[in-house]
Amino acid sequence: MAELGFIQAINQAIEEEMRRDPSVIVLGEDVRAIGAPLGEFKGLYDKFGADRVIDTPISETAIMGAAIGAAATGLRPIANIMYANFLGVCGDEMVNQLTQMRYMGGGEVKVPVTIMSYSGAGTRHAAQHSRNLYGWLMNITGLKIIAPSTPYDAKGLLKSALRENNPTIFLYHTALIKRGIKSEVPAEEYTIPLGKADIKREGKDVTVVAMALTVHEALAAANTLQEKGISIEVVDPRTLVPLDKETIINSVKKTGRLIVFDEEPKTGSAAAEIAAIVADEAFDYLDAPIKRVCAPDTPVPYSPVLEDFWIPDQKDLIEAVTELV
């Protein structure tokens, strides 16, 4: 088993899937010479050539539109939209085309596009490069949303995405890359199914649902809380759509308490959806209000002092847990 970071794990996943299936192609800015800003596409141009690793002009609507058209006619494009914040540029492709084409046509076409975007705060990139946009994406019906917290998960989930017959978005968190998070990644091939949560730590007092960055903050908090005698269970859904309700609800049945720990402004967040599901389907098991530990309802600020305040972190979680139990 090798210790890999996100970039390497992602690069491996893409290379393996491109070898496995000649219909997988890459469309994006800077994928050729520098393998996209952080190197996740590095080497692929040399290995697979100009027809399969395609540098594009700065044209997110063209990238996404072309990915849709290519997918509908038999390819499996990766549409690299550098940052999730840029998804608005091809917002119509997201809302009206990619996710509706199959349905509108009565199910005749498949649209197996995998979008790949950096997401998340913590790298001092300010408001236009730091959003996860989970809630925004969840409200777009028809898109499967992947938000891995470890390189191991990233690789297995991305490989599944590339075999999916439906639109998927794979969000990889820049702060986790910057922190140098690594996983043991086996040499043998593996995939992780979309829609299967992973319990990153077992516990009995409070269920904490966390994704990507907040998983790591939750795990750190868990240690501190353990010392105070509080045991939290960290559930990482790994995909927001489809959402593994069952695992979340089973955990709540056990703990009786839920905190959703989500790095985005609270209003309209993924945390809202998860809270709403539990408030409906596991109401009888709840012993306390459902809490959301989210970012404030503001854009992401630049200054480290402000950004660190903005990001919901272990301190915020510890506070919320302590109040709840």
Partner: protein, 330 residues
């Protein structure tokens, strides 16, 4: 560009069947659309539709230049494109009626008809959106080396949208086999193109991408055929995209309930004198391609076809309500 005449030279190399087919297709579109207007009025079609009446020569001439396996991308004014690419009028009518036998099983309606087996990748309710999608179909053809071409239909209004620029630049950079058919029917709903763009010939925008652009008479079916044939050949040779702008007019207004108050009566009347159908019919008769009787029989044939399309639509069942839940994911 000449409006009003038809170039005999263009017709000579064509087989009689091909000429006859051009006429039949234009007529099929015309009669279909007139019937849509009527069925909308009768409440059989629950949402207004954007009719192609007056523009028949463009879709017909353009699609006649294609192979059966080539692709087309259509827009909100799509019935003509679909019919020209071989779309079945019965399944189209059924879709407009919201029936289960329609092209989208009733899910899409007028603006979303698609038939991938015929190369019809879909109409689109978002103006301009098809332009980038066309590049994707062409990319598949390029990557898989199939020799297919994608025709992409859109209007003058769409030529002002973001996707026009990104989509065509992208295709020009990658030398994708797309032919953009810009149907300049003078208006985008109520906004005249002479207000919405500062130039006269929109095909001149091709120069921004280093590709050929040509403005032609969109009501001359042979002229359209010829121009598109050349562009398609170029695309198939791997030399990249072209833009062909056909000047034309939409007689019935923007959609089935548009009184067109913003257009002068004269303008409409003037365009009606350029009706592509009688114009081509005159040509066919003058050149003894078809006799009066033959034309008569084509008219009868089409009338029957559309009549039975309506009957098919009428007789078909609505989808079951729960079908709403199907077809989101593959």
């Amino acid at each position: 560009m000449t409006i009003g005449t038809i170039d005999r030279e263009l017709a000579l190399p064509l087989k009689i069947e091909k000429l006859e087919d051009l006429y039949r297709t234009m007529l099929r579109i015309r009669v279909f659309e007139e019937r849509v207007l009527k069925e909308f009025g009768r409440g059989k079609i629950p949402c207004h539709a954007h009719l192609y009446i007056g523009q028949e020569a463009i879709a017909t001439g353009a699609c006649a230049a294609l192979r059966a396996d080539d692709y087309i991308i259509s827009n909100h004014r799509g019935h003509g494109h679909l019919i020209a690419k071989g779309g079945k009028t019965d399944r189209m009518m059924a879709e407009l009626f919201g029936k289960k036998t329609g092209y989208c099983k009733g899910k899409g309606g007028s603006m979303h008809c698609a038939d991938v087996k015929l190369g019809i990748l879909g109409a689109n309710g978002i103006v301009g959106a098809g332009i980038t999608i066309a590049g994707g179909a062409a990319l598949t053809a390029k990557v898989k080396k199939t020799g297919q071409v994608c025709l992409c239909f859109f209007g003058d209004g769409a030529s002002n949208t973001s996707r026009f620029h990104e989509g065509i630049n992208f295709a020009s950079v990658l030398k994708l086999p797309v032919v953009y058919i810009l149907e300049n029917n003078q208006y985008a709903i109520s906004v005249p193109i002479k207000y919405a763009a500062n130039i006269t010939n929109l095909a001149d925008r091709a120069a921004a991408y280093g590709i050929p652009g040509k403005t032609i008479d969109g009501n001359d079916v042979l002229g359209v055929y010829e121009a598109v044939k050349e562009a398609v050949a170029r695309a198939r040779r791997g030399e990249g995209p072209s833009i062909i702008e056909g000047k034309t007019y939409r007689w019935a207004g923007h959609y089935t309930s548009d009184p067109q108050n913003y257009v002068s009566k004269e303008t409409i009347e003037q365009w009606k004198t350029k009706d592509p159908l009688p114009r081509f019919k005159g040509f066919l008769m003058e050149n003894a391609v078809l006799s009066e009787e033959q034309i008569e029989s084509i008219h009868q044939e089409i009338a029957d076809e559309i009549e039975s399309a309506v009957k098919f639509a009428d007789d078909s069942p609505f989808p079951a309500p729960e079908e709403t839940l199907e077809d989101v994911y593959a």
